[in-house]
Amino acid sequence: MKCTVCNYNSSSMDYADLGGHFIDMASESDADHIMWLNRFITKSKTGRQDLANMLREFFELNESGLKRWIINRFVSNFFSEPPHLFIGAMQSPERKVLLGYVVEHHHFLKQWIKSCAYVIAKTDNEDVQMYEMENIMAEMHGFGSKTPSHHELLLRMGESLGLPRETVLMSEPLPATRKAIELWGNLSRNSHWIEIMAAMHSLELIATRGLEKYGAKYSYFDPAIFQRSDIPNEVKDFLREGYDADASHSDEALNLIEKYSDEYGDIQAIQATFIRSMVAFDSYLNARLERGEQYENEL
């Protein structure tokens, strides 16, 4: 079983083994493992067997399957009441929030295409390869001058808000972004392609419409923004691109993951890798806010 926090991976399929690992790490006062337990399982110190039972419950798929489990976890982390702070800030975004978005997301996208490329390199399934190729093109390359890449639209959004693209391209990511990028790089190098897909494409759920049917209390932003005259068109173009595209992106990816997961066999590894990526993404979204606060004073 794989740990949701570190590279621990044992051949044992017993949750008592994973529980024992968490207890060992907690007894060393390891911040990352304790924070994870506090957040997802319990704040109260428990014994190995009780913890094993709680972990089993956490990973339990029920009848609805892996795709639904991933969506449920994601929705409750970002779109429940109260929502993630970045989601809250996006409901009616101030300039500084969008500026922070531009800079940190630039770094995110540069890693993104590398992870997609790892999937292509590690599989022979053409439907998966086609999906990733299309994704790389849409995110970073674009399809001719009439259909610029998501990255290009991001830079144009920044420019419309007074943030020169050179500033973005020459920036260094904030620590939380850097830490997340390192994680995505590492797991892309070392994990099975299906785990990489689960780690990366689940994140596109952030901009997916229609999550209300899975219990979401919020959407990524309030679409009323498209009607606002005080918002530059470049901002609308960027948000609209994600609004239209990511809906099918994440859904298609989760279908592919579910399709090939039985063949892979190790469902718990897919779940653990997804959770690890989601927690990194959560911190990365906070970095967008942190960067916005910095820029409010500078630009």
Partner: protein, 95 residues
């Protein structure tokens, strides 16, 4: 300095065992990050209020959403909100 938590002075978790002397008092934390955040937060309160020491700190909230707090010194009270990232204070405002 008294606090409202029985577990870790910052997050109330009973996992871990990390002790640090803060304000001359040996305090229990679950990990070094919580200890860093707590210590930095107390420093910020002292800076804002000019108090040399605190009698009591009450915390509600969590890492994700930030923490709403109340500190007292004698008859004086100070209410504030803060967030931390890796133990460093990223947001601090009087509420």
């Amino acid at each position: 300095m008294k606090t409202n938590y029985e577990g870790c002075a910052l997050c109330d978790a009973t996992w871990g065992e990390y002790w640090r002397e803060i304000e001359g008092q040996n305090m229990f934390f679950c990990c070094n990050i919580c200890a860093d955040a707590y210590e930095n937060m107390i420093g910020e309160v002292k800076k804002k209020t000019g108090w040399e020491e605190l009698d009591y700190v009450e915390i509600t909230g969590n890492y994700r959403l930030g923490r709403t707090c109340r500190a007292t010194k004698g008859d004086s009270e100070y209410k504030y909100f803060f967030r931390h990232e890796n133990g460093n204070i990223t947001q601090f405002e009087e509420r």
